[in-house]
């Protein structure tokens, strides 16, 4: 008996100790889970049950200088299927295909794809008309599980007007996503692609909101999470452009008749861009919706390259509109005076062992500089070029800003090409190029390439007496709470020409339009003095490009314009009349005419 009870007591003690140790282990484990690793598990538990759904912020509107809304927002409807709302497999494919007018096979494919989560909508068709949505709504009982969702997308002006100016919006690509700030840009978000939509994406896009939804283990969404406050989206800022839409539309419609073309109009007093046109346009409304494969193929394979912005990315030989630069270079370097007359023009002239032709086969006879500009005589400028030489010409061409981007507030821009000795040496080998290259450069041909924007900027500077302003598309940004941020007028440089040279050029360019012998007579506007220069750029790929650059009124310039109509022929016949209409439209819009 005694022995038995003793054993029992020791064993009781051991049992209690063992029990306490085991319970202590459990308590330790609980402490580690609930206190030490609490935040880790709370995070997982939240990830378990809370799904973050971004709410896209509406993008800010884009308006013209008079406050006319140009780019606004519209609803884009998507038809989806929610598997859990229909108990069996969806049985009404034919009916649905008929109702929304899409291919039966396409629907079938999407409906038969493996379902990952019965509570997640499967997108069937994106970007359907409002009429289709009405039909879906009316017949909802016959098609259980079919729902529609609304997204916001962009509404651009009709006919693709301003398509290059605005760009479009679309889902961010993976490559793009990696380059950008991950705090702002999330996978699947909508970004601006090209144009102002891209350049000003950060201000236009606003701030996306977030909705926190509570999700059960089955995947069913139970509604807003009671534990996390949703963040409402914040609408984007508004852009007020310098563009005058009336002027833009005149340019758009007049250039429509050509295979390709561009027009840039600038206020010479500050660099504000009044019109910014590239032809042909593309349909940015279609791009902002759902880009179908056919649409993409038709644009990508279009030989007229509608996606190319000819106003500042397209580069062209300028032809005669470049002659004022050659003339000014000659005057500034003191190698030629305005009264110098060289060999008369007989339609062609031999330099070295090559014959160089004037655009007028019958010739212009003997001309001074004024006459040569008015009549755009090539033979005169060949001789000026030969006298001043490549280096002087290249120095002044570069001094005017050619071969460099203008720094426009636009995501893409070409620098063009202003050939220099270094460039030619690099391209052909040191000194291994013809000395006669300068003759072609002097008349704006050869390897010289410019953008219409560069020409407009140069003629603006001529108009205002020599100040080169940075061109600006956007005038001000207005935040949703009314804060206004105005873009500043910036001076890029001064033209490397003296005041007397500039006033001579203005006089000459005025005569081009106003003189009976001038090539720019088509740009004449009664009661307004217009100064301008025609250009006919030879083009190895086809008919000549027709150029015209001008500004008006000469006494107090309000607008400078550069226009190119591709493969149109002589500048005097095609580009000049369009320029006239653009100038008229703008001057009447600001009350000068």
């Amino acid at each position: 008996m005694a022995k038995r009870s003793k054993i029992s007591d020791i064993r009781a003690k051991h049992t209690i100790i063992a029990l306490l140790i085991l319970f202590l282990i459990l308590t330790g484990r609980l402490f580690s889970l609930q206190v030490v690793s609490h935040s880790y598990y709370r995070q997982i538990s939240e990830n378990n049950s809370i799904r973050m759904v971004p709410i896209a912020a509406p993008r800010g509107f884009i308006k013209d200088r008079n406050g006319k809304p140009l780019v606004t927002n519209r609803a884009l409807y998507t038809i989806s299927y929610l598997p859990y709302m229909s108990d069996a497999k969806f049985r009404h494919i034919d009916y649905l295909a008929d109702l929304i007018g899409v291919d039966r096979q396409l629907l079938e494919e999407k409906l038969n794809a493996p379902i990952r989560n019965r509570y997640e909508p499967i997108k069937l068709v994106r970007g359907v008309d409002f009429g289709v949505i009405c039909k879906i709504e009316e017949n909802s009982e016959k098609i259980p599980g079919i729902i529609y969702q609304t997204e916001i997308t962009r509404q651009y002006p009709a006919d693709g007007y301003g398509s290059h100016l605005f760009g479009y919006v679309g889902e961010i690509s993976d490559a793009e996503l990696r380059k950008r700030d991950p705090n702002i840009y999330k996978s699947g978000c909508i970004i601006g692609i090209g144009g102002l939509e891209e350049e000003y994406d950060k201000v236009l896009r606003g701030r996306d909101g977030v909705e926190y939804l509570e999700v059960a283990a089955s995947g069913k969404i139970l509604g807003r999470s009671p534990y996390r406050e949703s963040v409402p989206p914040q609408v984007g800022s508004e852009l007020i452009l310098n563009i005058d839409w009336k002027t833009q539309c005149v340019a758009e419609s007049l250039l429509s008749g050509y295979i390709g073309g561009a027009a840039v109009a600038i206020d010479p007093s500050n660099g504000e861009v009044i019109a910014f046109v590239s032809k042909p346009n593309f349909d940015n409304n279609a791009f902002a919706g759902v880009i179908s494969e056919e649409l993409w193929a038709s644009v990508a394979n279009d030989t007229t390259h509608p996606l190319l912005n000819r106003a500042c990315v397209g580069t062209y030989p300028p032809g005669s509109i470049f002659k004022p630069i050659t003339a000014a270079a000659a005057l500034e370097s003191d190698s030629v005076s305005i009264n110098d007359k060289f060999q008369p023009c007989y339609g062609s002239m031999r330099f070295g062992n090559r014959i160089f032709k004037c655009w007028k086969p019958s010739g212009h006879g003997r001309l001074d500089m004024l006459g040569a500009i008015i009549q755009s005589c090539d033979i005169y400028f060949y001789q000026v070029g030969k006298i001043i030489g490549l280096d002087v010409w290249a120095k002044y061409s570069k001094g005017c800003g050619f071969g460099e981007r203008t720094d426009l507030d636009y995501p893409s821009e070409s620098s063009g090409l202003s050939p220099s000795r270094e460039y030619l040496d690099r391209k052909y080998g040191a000194g291994d190029w013809s000395r006669l290259l300068i003759l072609n450069l002097a008349i704006g041909q050869g390897e010289l390439l410019v953008t219409p924007l560069q020409m407009a900027v140069f003629y603006s500077a001529l108009a205002n007496g020599g100040t080169v302003y940075k061109p600006r598309l956007v005038n001000k940004i207005i935040s949703p709470d009314g804060e206004i941020f105005k873009t500043k007028t910036e001076v890029l440089r001064s033209l490397p020409f003296s005041a007397s040279t500039i006033s001579f050029l203005v006089k000459a360019l005025t005569a081009v339009v106003e003189d009976p012998a001038g090539t720019g007579a088509a740009a004449r506007i009664p009661s307004i003095t217009v100064a301008g220069k025609t250009g006919t750029a030879q083009n190895p790929h086809g008919l000549e490009h027709s150029w015209f650059c001008c500004f008006a009124p000469v006494e107090d310039p309000k607008i400078a314009v550069a226009i190119i109509a591709e493969n149109a022929g002589h500048g005097s016949a095609h580009a000049a009349p369009i320029a006239r209409e653009i100038v008229k439209a703008y001057l009447s819009s600001i009350g000068v005419l």
């Binding site: 008996m1 022995k3 038995r4 009870s5 054993i7 029992s8 007591d9 064993r11 009781a12 049992t15 209690i16 029990l19 306490l20 085991l22 319970f23 282990i25 459990l26 308590t27 484990r29 609980l30 402490f31 889970l33 609930q34 206190v35 690793s37 609490h38 880790y40 598990y41 709370r42 997982i44 538990s45 939240e46 378990n48 049950s49 509570e214 999700v215 059960a216 283990a217 089955s218 069913k220 139970l222 534990y227």
Partner: protein, 406 residues
């Protein structure tokens, strides 16, 4: 002295508090947005508690001598019921035959078989009046335990079956079995676990031989032990292949919960998340997202502790462990002071049942034990379990009151 109201507060209060906390936990599962059938389940549990309390007081009226007299009859009835459930039972979870359906009441005979086994072994060992039985006596005890163990394994319910093993082993220990001999009894189990890899098995067998030599064990016994161990080591891989897939999965999942997070490991992972997310003070009643949004499986029964961990935090979990500690230490003290063999052994057996189920259930919810489906005493939803544990504490209380006069 004989009043049914002379209840021991150190037994009764923890048991009642645990039952109430369990009901609150089950009430909380009623907020589940996904599974409507949890709603109102706490009301049923209140009924079970009332029934449990009635049986608690009934046990205090029944003379303890009665149990000793009827111990083998209880055992026989329990074995017949366990066998019967195999033939006529209703399928519960995981296709296991565990229940009798009697009207709305699903009876789980295994719960009562545990009590019956304790009585049977206690009565048998009490014959020896404090002297520890010789080898044939031990073999009888092992046989008593093995019969219900085998029948429940067949259901199949490995977790509950293990309870019978634990009762048997603990009562042998409690009755005074030499610790080294106890180790020899348990050694085949260790061989089984080691058998998954030949190297640990070889090391274990070697250690076994060395310890047998040091203890100067009888040669015949030594050879027998070693042969049995080697046999278990060899047979285990064969037996493993005989296990049900879900049982294999549970063991594998216990070893590595991350191996299949959407499948079998899901339960353990979600339970750990629930408990961890609860933090120090918990999220509050009905606020636990793991519970409410049905991420937590079988939350009213096996994983009720995870619900409490999520909604009442570390504080609530520790309170539960403390209540069990008080109850169990009190039970051990009762078992130790009742010097007459039968009552001491009965109390010891009951303590073993409660302690084992608490350790396995809570250990499972925190990822320290495999998923077994053993309910948490007093706390988990379930009529049979609730009633059985109140019967157990009723008898414990009666023993505490009457042991002097037994």
């Amino acid at each position: 002295m004989k009043s049914i109201f002379s209840i021991d507060p150190l037994i009764f209060v923890p048991a009642l508090l645990l039952s109430v906390i369990g009901i609150i936990g089950i009430y909380s599962t009623g907020f589940n947005t996904e599974i409507a059938f949890y709603k109102g389940m706490y009301v049923k549990q209140i009924y079970w508690l009332i029934m449990g309390l009635i049986l608690f007081f009934t046990m205090m009226v029944i003379p303890l001598r009665f149990h000793e007299i009827f111990a083998y009859i209880y055992y026989l009835i329990a074995i017949i019921m366990l066998a019967g459930v195999l033939w006529f039972g209703t399928a519960g979870g995981a296709k296991a035959m565990r229940w009798f359906s009697i009207g709305v009441f699903n009876l789980q005979p295994a719960e009562f078989a545990k009590i019956a086994l304790v009585f049977a072994i206690a009565r048998f060992l009490a014959h020896y009046k404090g002297k520890f039985p010789s080898t044939p006596g031990v073999i009888v005890v092992l046989a008593l335990g093995l019969i219900p163990f085998g029948l429940v394994v067949k259901q199949p319910d490995l977790g509950t079956a293990l309870v019978f093993g634990v009762i048997t082993m603990f009562l042998l220990y409690w009755a005074g079995l030499n610790s080294f001999h106890l180790f020899l009894f348990i050694s085949p189990t260790i061989s089984m676990i080691a058998a998954f890899n030949p190297i640990p098995l070889a090391i274990f067998i070697f250690l076994l031989v060395v310890s047998l030599l040091i203890a100067r064990t009888d040669l015949k016994v030594s050879v027998g032990v070693i042969i049995i161990n080697i046999l278990f080591g060899i047979l285990t891989p064969v037996l493993w292949n005989k296990l049900h897939d879900y049982q294999k999965l549970r063991i594998l999942t216990f070893l590595d919960p991350g191996r299949d997070p959407r499948g079998a490991g899901y339960q353990i992972i979600q339970s750990k998340i629930a408990i961890g997310a609860g933090g120090l003070f918990g999220k509050g009643i009905g606020m636990g997202t793991q519970t409410k949004l049905a991420y937590l499986p079988t939350q009213h029964t096996d994983f009720i502790f995870s619900v409490i961990g999520e909604e009442f935090g570390f504080l609530g979990a520790v309170i539960i462990i403390l209540l069990f500690t008080i109850l169990l230490i009190r039970g051990i003290t009762i078992a130790a002071k009742t010097r007459k063999g039968f009552l001491g052994l009965v109390a010891g057996g009951f303590v073993a049942i409660i302690a084992f189920q608490v350790l396995v259930n809570i250990g499972m919810t925190v990822g320290l034990m495999p998923v077994t489906g053993l309910p948490l005493p007093f706390v988990s939803y379930g009529g049979t379990s609730m009633i059985a544990f109140w019967v157990i504490v009723g008898i414990l209380t009666a023993i505490n009151r009457d042991w002097r006069s037994y």
